[in-house]
């Protein structure tokens, strides 16, 4: 059986046995190469599922839309976001059934290390892949002069139209009230002035630091092709180097910024280097 057949068979089984009320997956989109989130509630609807290049949103984002038992077809990134959501008490593990499958859009992300699900109740395929994320893109950027980095960053930030698609497709951005919508008083100007844009992005980046799993959903959602990946990946690299960890890999490990140890490396403080 193909991966898709496995996925469909499991989804039908779950719906027939009433183990879940809906299965979250993808259907064919209306434009070439596009897939669209799809919520199957009957075995007939399951037939519309696809699993192919283009299934590249992070479906974990939709879990909170449903209150009952939910099945979800999850690739590596989605499972890592699910882990985070469980740990942050946003999703109850008992309520979700995870159908794990390898990411079908392989090759589109920078040396993805976890294309296969990290947790699942059922795996639709069993291929172990091992890539190494080398962060060479971030390293190349770090090599640039500060003026060059600033110019590039300003250029990217000035493209933003503040549509918040990046935030709204991100499973880590689940705040009911985001700081950008605070208006009594206004925390942040509603303009696309460079300063307002930068504050939005830096605050968001810091708020998802240690929780962002680099699924790239935000980057793909952005209509203006703002390079958000660099910011997210810089933080992932720092987390890797400073704390030797990656977010969303285990249900037990404490999220890295939720924890404080006296011997935490603090190279960003004056004299901090020595304490490493």
């Amino acid at each position: 059986m193909t991966v898709l057949e496995n996925i469909k068979a499991k989804a039908k089984e779950l719906l027939e046995a009433k183990e879940v009320e809906v299965v979250i997956g993808f259907a064919q989109g209306t434009l070439p190469g596009k897939c669209t989130p799809y919520f199957a509630r009957t075995t007939e609807e399951v037939e519309r599922f696809v699993w192919q290049d283009g299934c590249n949103l992070n479906l974990a984002n939709y879990l909170s839309k449903f209150s009952g038992k939910v099945g979800i077809i999850a690739k590596g990134c989605d499972t890592r976001s699910i882990i985070n959501l469980i740990k942050e008490n946003q999703v109850n593990r008992e309520r979700i059934y995870i159908i794990g499958a390898n990411c079908p859009s392989m090759g589109s992300c920078h040396n993805c290390r976890h294309p296969q699900g990290v947790i699942a109740d059922f795996y639709a395929e069993q291929v172990q892949l091992n890539n190494q994320d080398d962060f060479s893109d971030v390293e190349a950027f770090e090599e640039l002069l500060s003026e060059e980095r600033k110019n590039y960053f300003y250029q990217e930030m000035s493209k933003c139209i503040r549509c918040y698609a990046c935030r709204n497709v991100c499973p880590a951005c689940y705040c009911k009230e985001c700081f950008v919508e605070e208006n009594l008083p206004c925390w942040l100007g509603k303009t696309t002035d460079l300063a307002d844009n930068i504050i939005f992005h830096l605050t968001r980046t810091m708020h998802v630091a240690g929780r962002c799993i680099d699924c790239g959903a935000c980057v793909r959602a952005c209509p203006m092709e703002v390079n958000l990946s660099l910011l997210n990946r810089k933080l992932l690299k720092d987390i890797q180097e400073l704390f030797n960890t990656e977010p969303g890999l285990s249900l037990e490990a404490e999220p890295v910024l939720n924890e404080y140890k006296e011997d935490d490396p603090q190279p960003f403080l004056i004299g901090g280097e020595e304490s490493v």
Binding site: L31, C35, I161, K190, T191, R220
Partner: protein
Amino acid sequence: MFDYQVSKREFQNWLIKMQEEYEVWAPVKVGKNYTWGSWDGGSFPDEDYQNTLKPPKDLFFPQYEVLLKYKKVKGKRPLIIEPDLPQEKRIIWEVRPCDARSLTILDRVFINKDYEDPYYSHRRKNTVVISLVCQKPGLGCFCKDPLTTEGSDLMLLDCGDTYLVKLVSVKGKGLIKNPVFTADKPINIPMELPANPFNLEIADKDLAEKLEVIYRSPLWRELQEKCVNCGVCTFLCPTCHCFDLTDDQKGKKVRSWDSCMFASFTKQASGHNPRPTGAERLRQRVMHKFRYFFENHGIFACVGCGRCVEKCPVNLDIREVLQRIKEVQ
């Protein structure tokens, strides 16, 4: 029927001459995309020019602008400083016909018998719109007529080394009062223009009536399920015109685009939100475009430019939405 045929070189020279008096704006390629920018005096659209990412509404109704400034004055009424209204004369060219048409929709909102928005109307009056006929519709396009002249002052059709030019408005005609362009008789379109691949005949008025009936339909809930309530479809729409007014700390009153798809759009001071879920928000977007605007102005507030179709991050396709609405019994 077009009025003139000119070589691209002649046209370019004419436009360069115009730069003495006008700012000339054109689609400028940045990376893979086109954005509105100052014309360099030399570039012509590439083969791959479909349309600009952001619509030209930004040039008339910018994403944000300072409407006025105020200062506290001790013991007196606050001092209000009104900005100078935009006076520059502009030509924007290579505007797609759907986008030119969208300006006539914005005109109905910002320049009407009850109210004239000075910021918008100054820019609009000082700008000449030269459109360029689409010969190859984009993936999401569903305009009714790629030859529509609504909103254009002049219209161009690319014929390789030459342009056919159509005089549309008085403003457009005035621009070429000493024609460098010559023609003996009206010129027919020399090529077959493609029929629209996805013609929804959205301009049939049954749609507005249908929408009235299905206001409470469960369809909205179903259609919006995958929507993430971002601002892509409305911000990139050439006809969407909702805005917010905010005061910054320094005494500036700022107008900025807002979106009916945002959860915060209708949130009231009490905390109550009359459009609490995505279903009410999607319904509002569709109702405004295809029912309320039609009832008020006799025209749909959608020109079929396809931006929302191509850029929606979850592929919630307005053409599909309209199709589903049509199918409701």
